[in-house]
Symmetry: C2
């Protein structure tokens, strides 16, 4: 086989791994118990690796809060000193089999959605959806509220989500149904979140004996209409990880952002990151108090959804989101078709009813991105520089990471006898 | 003003009444307590009036079962004798401010969704969604199961639906959101049903002290993905009733079927029924055991949804349903546009995202139906001749009832000094 033939075959294998993956939500456990290599003084963040001093505001703030939350320090100053002294392991969630929305801050006691890919046997993890925490007027009050919410998630909600009682919750059927119900499963998760409440509520009822715990948990799930994203993200990670490390494959297996850099990984290039600048998010702010000057560039591991082939790739499934980008249904359809130009194949189970059940375009090929100049479109929330979600919209992955990955691919595989 | 001008003005008033209506689900009460004129020996049925001997199989069966259920007789034979002796009041639900899905059987102890139109002060009622009851193999077993389900609905679920605790549930926002989530709110109610569970679950939890009652009720709501239809139907009835009895108006205020006749009422013609033959439903049977020979023609008061301007009128909102009629998204869009030809206006709150947020076409004008030859398209379930729902699909209202209504309208209003 010549090189193009080898790449073609490898990419079909990567596509097949993603198609066959069967992610099942099996448990909720503290990060320290389940993440391989996790320690009490490790704090994980979204996106590619970044040094403490280079982090954007919300990530810096989140790391400090995590150290306070874990009882390692008393205040932000002590947290900063501990980090500067090299006593804190800072690393991307992605390097611990995890993904984290927005800043992605994950520490030892964070309750993690545990997803097992029943087809390949690998696991992936995501924090629980945290919900908004207080206002932005007062940083200290905001942080106190955020820590209270973390405590509630790890002590109340996490142990109450009776996924074990239902024998695990297969995530693919939930995503497939949500796509029929106006979600694209990244910026819009109203249907998916309802489906999860529907699937779990009776089992939660059976297993939780404390009435107030149960009331709070049910109230949260019936309110938190972005909840399913954390489950979908872990499922997407468990799926894309199964397509990793296939020699000769040019399929993208990770896309993640830390508010400074946008990073990708490519199947045939293993765990190497290729980065470009995180882009501005075009969208709508939830209040007229906020504008582009307040916003952090594209941030979070949630682009694992587009890596999977959901979210921006299938936005025709969620025309309601066009309201955030002054778009139209035909624009959404055009973007979904455009994603078809840079992907290897489609996922039969994921269909878009209002495109006559067209299948979702999955498995992005870095060669096609470079050839066409079309970069993946990313649906995303917008974070405030001082923390908190202040809007939602859309952006694109930067060309640069794909070009650099392709150069590295050429260097690795053009050498005779490589791989 | 000449006659066309008077009609135009009257129709805008009817449209306005429907637009302004604010239906709120306020309670669940037994029929005997809330339906004006209801008595212990009254059994209501779907559609226009029909004599006992002319009823289709499921309605006959339902009436008999209701008499057994209410403890008035011991068996079907005694029920038939009681009816023939003239000791049972048989009447359309619509004549008791109510609507009933499929056969529409409603008796004294039936638990009714109570909807108040806060704008106009009128009330409307609908039975709770009953769910499937047993198989069709054995008539007696089926009926025993059905009666058990009725008992459960009136003694367990009905009193547990804590709509009063939440201060009443406005139905328009639920329908509007469901339309964004792939429901057309007649044949597909997955989103609406989830939204209702989300809206009520915490309040149910607070008000119901019996753990097993609560578990059963939550389990039912999380399973019954057609549940919201009964709430939407009562809301539609409370809305269309507000447009009734406007002199000179040619707007349709009722469409209902009893499996034999399809009947309509027209605003300027008060409570008079105009009927045509109920049509065959084109659709899909849930099992290959069933076919057209098993099916009852179009049946049920659920066409109140199309009278309102939902269901068939907005089917582009629910492209998934095209699978029942071998259709396509463009077919659904074309039908929605076609309904625009026979309606007076649109409902701003009800939008179809994948038609770039086009508004729902509401208030059908009998003149436009007769002029264009376009009849309302009705999304509907299919009933078995021996009872039970066996499929779903689409049909059309028959031309005849619109032509006859228009003739009656001309006779009434062409006379100088009429109305």
């Amino acid at each position: 086989m010549n090189l193009p033939e080898r790449i073609h075959e490898a990419n079909l294998n990567a596509l097949d791994a993603m198609r066959q993956a069967n992610p099942v939500w099996v448990d909720v456990r503290p990060a320290l118990e389940v993440l391989p290599g996790m320690s009490k003084n490790t704090v994980l963040h979204a996106g590619p690796p970044i040094a403490w001093e280079d982090m954007c505001g919300p990530q810096k703030m989140g790391v400090q809060q995590a150290l306070i939350y874990e009882g390692l320090v008393d205040d932000e100053e002590a947290a900063a000193a501990m980090i500067r002294a090299g006593e804190v392991v800072l690393a991307p969630c992605h390097e611990y089999q995890a993904v984290g929305g927005m800043a992605g801050i994950t520490s030892a006691s964070s309750p993690m959605v545990v997803v097992r890919n029943e087809q390949h046997g690998n696991y992936a993890y995501s924090q629980l959806f945290q919900g908004p925490a207080g206002g932005l007027q007062d940083r200290d009050a905001y942080n106190v509220e955020a820590r209270k919410q973390w405590r509630w998630l790890d002590s109340v909600l996490g142990p109450t989500l009776a996924v074990k009682e239902v024998g695990g919750l297969p995530v693919k059927p939930i995503i497939a149904r949500a796509l029929e119900m106006g979600d694209e499963c990244h910026n819009r998760n109203s249907a998916g979140s309802s489906l999860i409440l529907n699937a779990l509520v009776e089992a939660m009822f059976k297993t939780c004996r404390d009435r107030e715990t149960l009331r709070q948990s049910i109230a949260y799930l019936s309110w938190a209409d972005q909840f399913s994203l954390c489950v979908s993200m872990a499922a997407a990670k468990a799926t894309t990880d199964a397509a990793k490390n296939i020699p000769y494959s040019t399929v993208v297996t990770t896309m993640a952002r830390n508010g400074v850099d946008f990073g990708i990984k490519v199947s045939g290039l293993g765990e190497q990151w290729f980065t470009g600048p995180a882009q501005r998010v075009e969208g709508l702010y939830f209040s007229s108090d906020w504008g582009d000057d307040d916003a952090v560039p594209d941030m979070g591991d949630s682009a694992i959804m587009e890596t999977y082939g959901i979210g921006g790739h299938v936005q025709a499934a969620a025309p309601a989101l066009q309201q955030f980008v002054s778009g139209s249904f035909s624009r959404a359809v055009a973007l979904t078709r455009e994603m078809g130009q840079i992907t290897v194949g489609t996922m039969d189970e994921y269909r878009i009813p209002n495109m006559d059940f067209a299948t979702a375009p999955i498995a992005t090929d870095i060669r096609k991105v470079v050839q066409t100049g079309v970069t993946p479109v990313i649906d995303t929330a917008i974070a405030h520089k001082k923390g908190g979600v202040i809007g939602a919209g859309q952006t694109r992955a930067p060309q640069q990471c794909f070009s650099e990955a392709l150069r590295a691919f050429a260097a690795k595989y053009r050498t005779p006898g490589a791989a």
